[in-house]
Amino acid sequence: MIKTSRRTLATGAALIALGFAADAAAQQAVKIGAIYPLSGNSASAGNYEKMAIEMGADIINNGNAELAKVMPLAKGGGLPGLKGAKIQMVFADNQGTPAAGQSQALRLITEEKVAALIGSYQSGITLTTSAVAEKYGVPFVNPESVAANLTERGFKWFFRVTPVAADFAKAYSAFLKEQKAAGQKVNSIALVHENTEYGNSVASVIADVFAKDGLSVTMKVAYSANSTDVQPQVLQLKEKNPDVAIFVSYTADAILYAKTMKELNWKPAILIADDGGFNDPAFVKAMGSVTEGLISRSVFAPGKPGSVAAICDALYKKKTNGDGLDDVSARALQAFFVLADALNRAGSTEPAKIQAALKATDIKPDQLVAGYDGVKFNDKGQNVLASTLITQIRKGQYVSVWPKARATDPLVLPYKGW
């Protein structure tokens, strides 16, 4: 029995060694680990992010002539600061559980010897994966998790590129106050949110910020995610008929809400959908035609032709057969470019040098895929220049309408729907 178990172990080890041998062919490459939900309930988002990061690595390694005109790192031939080392992505599946994420972080660090990690979508999993990176002293770049506490842990190796819930809430508040000044009614606001981490945390921050800014949330509806039916909630809304409705939902529920609102024929003057499900390409494809004028927030809008964002959007469409970059995939791609830029400036795969380079990051808006004011980290590792755009669906596609400086199209109110 022992013999067989030893033999199995030996075979296993040999298999793993084989894997290493194959990797060894790609010498000189800088390995970056990416941990995403590639199975489980969030697999859809995880796969979009994976494709965005793969595309980013391809741009750095093989170049893109058009993009190279505006973004120096896109010339191809790997990272110049590292003598042309190519970037090799190692993807791992967190399976939607904190424990699996942790196991994979450990494997990527100790076995794949990655220079840095990127991930992991769900805030709870980012919490555990980044804790492993912190213990081992490996830089961890987080593109998209918004839980406030992530940057409050005193971590030295954690860098978050995305804006957080408070930034979104401030953007909505400023946006609504502007509409009020322009004569729109915003006296009653309904806040509908799903009851898991994302919905709860975003909704409570919105409620706090609005209360401070004198906007009255007159109705708060929490519902459990993955509902089979949302008709009662929509009927409640129809009865109270608020001027503004804000939804915080994942894709599954977003689709149901859009369908049910059409079925029950209810629409508020201003309908805001906080990113999440409403920005999923699957949602836009399925429901875009019946949600004309839906307002959302996104860090991404294609922008002017020839800009970094527009070129990347076109490339991504090619890669995914038609799905453009959206809020989530754009944030992943942006964080990947931030990490690549830091690696390039570090000129080394030594963790401490990468960490120092990340701390010194200062990227200007015209170099960005995402619509941030720039990228610059504070002591806690939060990007202080992260901000968000407000977008609106126009003929089945999101266009940027606010703030005015970055708007490509005028805002159209009231909400038209179908």
Partner: protein
Amino acid sequence: MSILQPVLQVLTSAAFWQVVVGGLMLGAVYALFSSGLTLIWGMMNVVNFAHGDFVMLGMYTAVVVWTSLGGGPWASVPIAAIAIATVGVISYFLLVRHIMRGPMLAQILGTFGLALFLRYGALWAFGANFKTLPDNLVGHSFVLAGLRFEGARVLAGMMGLVITVLLHLILTRTSVGSRMLAVSEDATAAQLMGIRPQRMQALAWALAGASTGIAGALIATFFYTSPTVGETLAIVAFVTVALGGFGSVLGALVAGLLIGLVESLSAFLIGPVWKDVIVYVLFVLVLWFRPQGLMGKA
């Protein structure tokens, strides 16, 4: 009077009755996708943990027929029925036949493994993205007596009633049905009477698969389709079947309508977060007082 006033106010509001109607239609859909589960459960004393994933496969069949082959609901429903019936019969011969006499644990183990296999097979084949069917002829709604009815849900609800009643009639009024029941009562005795138990059981899986396939194809007309959608539906189906009393097709119908109504009303009157809590509490209470379920044989 002052106490009654708010109650009256609720009862006379159009929204309330809309919720009642919506809840009943939802309940009919629950009954629809639970009928296959209760049939297998009652006939063979096997809990199919892969049931939700059978529904999911039915939904994908509809999506494929609809989007790739260009068929509408009239093509997708029968094709899904045939496809899932086939899946059911294959599962019966390759797996269930061998585990149904074993301990109950082996059944859970086997059907749970099957569930994982099907769920992630779908992820592999169709990708993780949410799919929805294009707006279509059943996608419209109409107004009746001041209440709005959604075409797709009405159709699904109606089919739920029809199929449940049909299954009930097959089991109670036809000779095939009585042979199937004989096998479920006592397979050995049935064999002595010249009934081939395996054939009857395979037939039960085919029937259950067909009704599940139809359920999936109809649900896909108003619900999103994703590889993990079966998980969402399976727990509802379990509760519906156990509440109704296992093996009782009509029990599943009553339980489905009750759960749909309770869910919708509690979401409307108390708050959407509490609807699951109330359904589970109700379920546990019913089992406390009637351990055999609402319409199970005592």
